[in-house]
């Protein structure tokens, strides 16, 4: 009985670690063609303003004002990782989400709005 319980525990822990490992390396899985994509709305102040409104409507509830996160489970988007990511990386991440860790896929937003959010996130770094 004890052996079986330990087996199940090991299996659960392995699964959790596997999911965790996937999450930590998620940015490394951005396909090259997505990584290389440039924001077609970059350097357009109106896109940044529009992105702020899309952010307010869909992202604010988790990532809080100015993308600062809550310091606990809701991560700040003003981070080294975002600063170092390409525009294409961020758009890809928005499209994919991270379902295993609570981040929905935002493929339901039109592509233009995802690029507007990327422009906004760049502006708050």
């Amino acid at each position: 009985m004890m052996r079986r319980t330990l087996g199940i525990l090991c299996l659960v822990l392995s699964a959790a670690l596997a999911v965790g490992a996937t999450a930590s390396s998620r940015w490394e899985h951005v396909p090259a063609k997505d990584h290389a994509r440039a924001n077609p709305l970059a350097n357009k102040p109106e896109a940044t303003a529009a992105g702020a409104m899309v952010y307010r409507d869909h992202c604010l509830q988790c990532h809080k004002a100015e993308a600062q996160g809550d310091g606990k489970r809701r991560p700040s988007l003003r981070s080294e990782r975002i600063r170092n990511a390409s525009d294409g990386d961020i758009e890809w991440f928005l499209r994919q989400g991270d379902l295993g860790h609570g981040m929905p896929s935002w493929s339901s937003l039109p592509e233009a709005q995802r690029w507007q959010v990327v422009a906004y996130l760049r502006s708050v770094q």
Partner: protein, 295 residues
């Protein structure tokens, strides 16, 4: 008397204010029958009503309403409770049952076509007129009887759907394959629903607006029955086509409207649908906090 009315008005005004203060914004398609890959955001609760106005041949006009409570359990799992009722002219108003459903995204990645598994248990009566799915040989004759007779038919049903959905640029295209089993030794019944929708404008305008193109969605859905295990056929089945319009209002309110048109003799000639949805953000976190789980 006047004082009591004033108190009641004040109470409802405060309730409405609290509801609107808590509400967030939904971003969902205006489908009534078709499901897309969109799940509820984790921790959010959406309250939605879907009403249907219809008149079967040989029956009286009726209105049915499904009240839906949809909760984002995880980013990949949404659970919903439906409470259904209907009212029929020159007849009665009845509660027609409840349904519990779960939608799960088995793949954690966004693909060109995204599968969602849908599992539902229904405990409804034959008087249900919400027509939120059409399977088997469902037809308008099933809806024409008096409520006193229809409500005697108990339907304990399990329903499975395979939802396939794609977001292409600004478009959403979704296909649902439905298999429903009455748990009282009835054959499996099959049906389908397909839909496509998009916002009228892809990019956000960057200003606070209520009646602007990016807040409006348009689309179309088609749905119908495909017979059952003993007669997998299109003969004597109902099929509908329904244009859709959705409007995203401020404070997380969403309205949708759809006139549906029957395409076969057993279909209802017309069915008008109206939807109203209100989304409450992070209800899960709030409840967790109330239980002392918060900091």
């Amino acid at each position: 008397m006047l004082m009591a009315v004033r108190r009641a008005s004040l109470f409802w005004a405060i309730c409405l204010f609290c509801i609107l203060a808590l509400a967030g914004r939904a971003q969902e398609k205006p489908y009534f029958v078709t499901y897309s890959q969109d799940l509820e955001e984790p921790g959010n609760l959406e309250l939605e009503t879907k009403s249907a106005l219809l008149r079967p041949d040989g029956g009286n006009r009726g209105g049915a309403m499904a009240m839906e409570l949809e909760y984002g359990t995880r980013a990949w799992w949404t659970t919903e409770l439906y409470l259904d009722g209907q009212t029929t002219a020159q007849d009665s108003t009845v509660f027609t049952g409840w349904r519990l459903e779960n939608r799960i995204r088995p793949l954690m990645r966004e693909m060109a076509v995204n599968p969602v598994i849908y599992v539902e248990y229904e405990n409804t009566s034959g008087a249900d007129k919400t027509v939120l799915e059409v399977v088997g040989h469902d037809g308008q004759a099933d809806l024409a009887g008096p409520n006193s007779e229809l409500r005697m038919q108990h339907q304990h049903e399990a329903e499975l759907k395979l939802i396939l959905s794609s977001n292409l640029k600004s478009w959403n295209v979704s296909e649902n394959f439905i298999a429903e089993k009455n748990l009282g030794h009835e054959p499996w019944e099959f049906g389908y629903a397909v839909g496509a929708a998009r916002p009228l404008r892809s990019a956000a305008s960057g200003r606070n607006c209520t009646f602007c193109a990016e807040k409006l969605m348009a689309g179309v859905e088609a749905y119908g029955g495909l017979g059952d295990t003993s007669s997998l056929t299109l003969r004597d089945t109902s099929h509908y086509i329904a244009p859709l319009v959705g409007w995203q209002l401020p404070k997380g309110v969403r309205l949708s409207f759809s006139p549906g048109f029957g395409l076969t003799a057993s279909s209802l000639t017309r069915i008008y649908r109206v939807g109203f949805a209100l989304e409450f953000e992070q209800v899960g976190g709030w409840l967790h906090h109330l239980q002392g789980g918060g900091a």
